[in-house]
């Protein structure tokens, strides 16, 4: 809030120099005051056009943004929630959700945090101050990460990279947002994307100028204002001609969040020769052993290789959430563009995951590669659902897909739903899938060499996932491996 207010004061001062703009500035100031009022309490549960107008006003958005949201809302009201995924879900009452809430009541210190959660952090070796942040303890005092964020900002600014929150981008770079927002995932793309478009709270905005190789790996963690991206995150990454960026999302320790529904939208735009690498480690609260609680993670992620010779690569490690519904996709529009999808999805207890990708080949000589590894344990259900579509003009398109499932236990399910649609005779599309359990031979081999049962399982699982972990930035890979170990605890024996 403090920064926002000083921003406005600055604007007032600047505006005062020109009489014509004084009124506008004063109005804004008034709006800010109004914000403070509202912010002390949440908007009541429910969703209608007034709620969206209020939300947009609170965020001080320009008129076009409000209209954009309203258009999305109007589409959403005509849509029904998808029912094709292999998930068992009680209907969600969208009118019972509050679409804007003041910062949540945070635990004051680590003492107030669930000991189970702390135990997990201990095992993952998360540094103490990070534990506090992850557990949702107010972290204003964590100077380390603030300073990290600040240095990072300077360095990025030097390179011309814009990396800020979506709300900030709407205010400070409206022309970019307007040009690209909704061009990859249109407002009415699907039920959850429409809902997100209407009520998105915040998210990241990244712009890499022409020819720039982003000097560091960007992650939400380093963004100073990433604190509460909320239930409806909206991320937009634009990589101009010849640029490169690697973006990391999420954190490797469980995020404590009581929210039930997360409907995020991520849009990537890669122009000519640009490359975007997007890595996710998702470990939202999965609910307990009996499937009580946990996050519904309904995410629309899509990247478009708009320019020739561009490349988008998705890597995801999904271990959290009660229900995951997520298909990071690539639209290969430019010629010779490349799309990649590497995924590890692990489900335990009563988790349900229906995840995969879509590779839409439009340009000539486009290539895509899919490597998906599913691990199911407990009473969970884990599905891969993927579409490879080769349109008429996609001369010489090539796809290779491999999806493997590993079953741990008798009560879980592992499913594969690949869709292959080919309209160009020069395309080559290959799909392979296997399902198996950890073989007794493998276990016996490890055990006979003195390796404990749990260690043996985690070794085998690690080997099973290697192909995907290799694609992750190194620190992430190390933590992802540890995360699988923690998530699989109690799965054997």
């Amino acid at each position: 809030m403090a920064t926002e207010r000083s921003d406005i004061e600055q604007q007032v001062r600047a505006a005062a120099s020109g009489n014509a703009r004084v009124d506008e500035a004063l109005n804004r100031r008034y709006a800010a005051g109004f914000v403070t009022d509202i912010e002390s309490e949440s908007l009541p549960p429910g969703l209608n056009e007034d709620v969206i107008r209020k939300l947009s006003a609170i965020k001080q958005e320009p008129e076009w943004m409000t209209e954009w949201r309203l258009a999305a809302y109007r589409q959403w009201t005509t849509m029904t929630a998808p029912d094709w995924a292999k998930i068992d879900l009680k209907p969600i009452d969208y009118q019972a959700i509050s679409y804007y809430s003041a910062p949540k009541k945070k635990p004051k210190s680590l003492d107030e945090v669930d000991p189970k959660l702390l135990e997990t952090y201990e095992k993952l070796g998360v540094p103490l101050h990070e534990r506090a942040k992850l557990a949702g303890v107010a972290v204003d005092a964590v100077f380390d990460s603030v300073s990290v964020a600040t240095t990072a900002r300077d360095e990025l600014a030097k390179a011309g990279v814009i990396f800020c929150s979506m709300s900030e981008a709407i205010r400070s770079h409206p022309e970019l947002v307007r040009k690209y927002l909704g061009t990859v995932v249109p407002q009415g793309d699907n039920f959850f994307a429409a809902l997100n478009s209407a009520v998105f709270s915040d998210g990241s905005f990244v712009y890499i100028p022409k020819g720039v190789r982003c000097p560091m790996e960007l992650s939400t963690y380093f963004r100073i204002n990433a604190g509460h991206t909320g239930q409806f995150e909206r991320t937009l990454i634009i990589a101009e001609e010849g640029s490169y960026v690697s973006y990391l999302e999420g954190c490797t320790a469980p995020m404590r969040d009581e929210n039930q529904l997360h409907a995020a939208v991520v849009e990537l735009v890669a122009l000519e020769r640009a490359q975007i690498k997007y890595s996710t480690v998702q470990n939202w609260y999965p609910g307990d052993e009996n499937g009580v609680g946990g996050i519904y993670n309904f995410v629309t992620k899509r990247g478009e290789c708009r320019g020739d010779d561009s490349k988008i690569s998705w890597t995801q490690v999904e271990t959290g959430s009660a229900i995951t519904w997520k298909y990071p996709s690539c639209v290969l529009r430019g010629d010779r563009t490349v799309g990649e999808f590497y995924s590890v999805a692990l489900t335990h207890h009563r988790q349900q995951a229906d995840t995969g990708t879509k590779m839409i080949h439009l340009g000539k000589h486009t290539r895509s590669k899919i490597v998906a590894k599913g691990i199911s344990a407990g009473r969970s259900s884990n599905s891969y659902r993927g579409l490879v579509k080769v349109e008429k003009g996609a001369e010489g398109a090539r796809n290779y897909t491999q999806c493997d499932s590993l079953l741990i236990g008798k009560q879980c399910g592992a499913h594969t739903f690949p869709y292959i649609e080919v309209k160009n005779p020069s395309a080559i599309v290959e799909h392979e899938a296997t399902t198996s359990k950890i073989s007794d031979d493998q276990m016996f081999y490890c055990r006979s060499r003195g390796i404990g049962e749990e260690d043996a399982v985690s070794m085998i699982v690690d080997g099973f996932c290697k192909q995907v972990f290799r694609e992750l930035p190194m620190e992430f890979a190390v933590e992802a491996k540890r995360l699988l170990e923690v998530s699989l605890e109690g799965a054997v024996g």
Binding site: W84, K86, V390, K392, S405, L407, I408, G409, K410, Q411, C412, G413, A414, H415, T416, F417, P418, Y419, I420, E421, V422, K423, N424, P425, S426, A427, I428, V429, E430, H431, E432, A433, T434, T435, S436, K437
Partner: protein
């Protein structure tokens, strides 16, 4: 607001004189099925997964007359159904109507019962009650409901326990030109007793250009240790619409093998649903579709492993040329507790023209952990190196392409034990292959 197709079927049902009418349970089942069909209509273009790749919109606008009043008088040349290696008992249906004069049902081998459904209903309907009372309630089951409501005839076949029927039984469905576009619905019930063995050929043939609508629903029950060899040759009229659905239930140690070759028809849907209920049951399938022109052929294979130590190996090949569209949807389900299942599904396709389309969806649903399950699917072209090899030995390009295409498909038919029939199917396939000489080497 129902479509012309649905309206025409419902109107026709009111006037239809179906065998066995007056039997209370049958009347009730037919009525209920018709209501279900009329209420649901044809599956919509979106939202029903099973019909994702086949649009029924053009069909919705067509009106078919129910049954052929002159079926008994249609002249059909025996050449239409003659198959080498198939000389056992024969049952011929012309436009859905049973033709005793064309059938060969005298001197049936010991243990084999084979009679038209109409006669079975007249003699003793009760044993058929279980099958004919079944309701199809899933979305997308419209044609099964329609069949249940309107099937006028079909085959009832039983093999007594332990009986081995050596000569293959031939079921022929011929479409013959008529004064109007006709719809026929046939229902077959096939039961193999414990340890029984049967070789069966389901044959769809054309006696001229007949744009009819055919709808076949067949139930197969294989008791313990029964063995069924089923070969399907679909060479219907180019303008025909053909919907077929086979439901197989296999008890312990029963074995079924299916070989299918899909060649004819304009709009064709072939569904095979198999449930491996008993321990050690096995169901292998081999199939080929070769489509061209504007053909649309949709194959849906659904195999459910329920017993322990069951096995299934599916090997399907498809080629699509010109403006045709070939669809393969294969699903393997391993139910909870079906330990020891060994399931494989392979689907390879060749796409030969820029206007053609192949859609394939090989699905695995696994609910048990002691399983071996895998699937693979490919869509591609002929191997350039193989083409080069043949050409370097003086084989013209067109011939080289045909040869490789033939070899690609033939692999799926080779395992048919009836050698003369396998040869014949191969020849049918070869006759369909494109010989396009105008092409230049790529």
């Amino acid at each position: 607001m129902s479509s012309p197709f649905v309206q025409a079927m419902v109107d026709a049902a009111a006037l239809a004189r179906l065998p066995g009418s007056g039997i209370a349970w049958l009347d009730a089942a037919r009525r209920e099925s018709l209501v279900a069909f009329a209420a649901a209509g044809l599956p919509p273009p979106r939202g029903v997964e099973a019909w994702r790749y086949t649009s029924l919109r053009p069909l919705e606008q067509r009106r078919f007359a129910l049954g052929d009043a002159h079926a008994a008088a249609r002249a059909v040349d025996a050449a239409a159904w003659a198959l080498p290696g198939v000389d056992g008992p024969r049952m011929v249906f012309v436009n859905g109507a049973f033709r005793a004069d064309l059938s060969a049902l005298d001197a049936l081998p010991a243990g084999l019962t084979l009679l038209p459904l109409s006669r079975a209903l007249a003699e003793d309907a009760e044993p058929l009650r279980f099958f004919l009372s079944r309701m199809y309630r899933a979305r997308g089951d419209a044609f099964a409901s329609l069949n249940s409501a309107l099937a006028a005839d079909g085959a009832v076949l039983r093999v007594a326990p332990g009986a081995r029927v050596a000569a293959p039984v031939h079921l022929v469905f011929v479409g013959a030109p008529a004064e109007a576009e006709l719809a026929w619905h046939a229902r077959c019930l096939i039961e193999l007793g414990e340890g029984a063995e049967l070789e069966l050929v389901e044959h769809h043939a054309a006696a001229g250009a007949a744009p009819h609508f055919g709808n076949l629903l067949a139930d197969y029950v294989l008791r313990e240790r029964a063995r069924l060899g089923l070969a399907v040759l679909q060479d219907g009229a180019a303008a025909a619409t053909l919907f077929r659905r086979a439901e197989l239930r296999l008890d312990a140690a029963a074995t079924a093998t299916l070989h299918a070759l899909e060649l004819g028809g304009a709009l064709v849907r072939h569904e095979v649903h198999a449930s491996l209920d008993g321990d050690g049951a096995r169901f292998d399938t081999r199939g080929v579709f070769a489509v061209r022109g504007r053909q649309h052929v949709d194959t849906r294979l659904h195999v459910e492993h329920r017993g322990r130590d069951t096995a299934g190996d599916a090997l399907w090949r498809g080629i699509a040329d010109e403006r045709a569209r070939g669809v393969f949807q294969g699903t393997i389900v391993v139910a909870r507790g079906a330990d020891g299942a060994d399931a494989r599904l392979g689907n390879k396709n060749l796409l030969l023209s820029p206007q053609a389309e192949i859609d394939t969806k090989p699905v695995l649903e696994i609910h048990a952990d002691e399983v071996k399950a895998s699937h693979g699917a490919t869509v591609g072209q002929l191997d350039e190196r193989s083409l080069f090899y043949l050409r370097s030995r003086g084989v013209p390009l067109a011939a080289a392409r045909s040869l490789l295409t033939y070899a690609f498909c033939r692999a799926a038919l080779d395992s048919l034990p009836n050698a003369p029939l396998a040869e014949h199917l191969g020849a049918c396939l070869l006759a369909r292959l494109p010989i396009r000489s105008e092409e230049t080497p790529p």
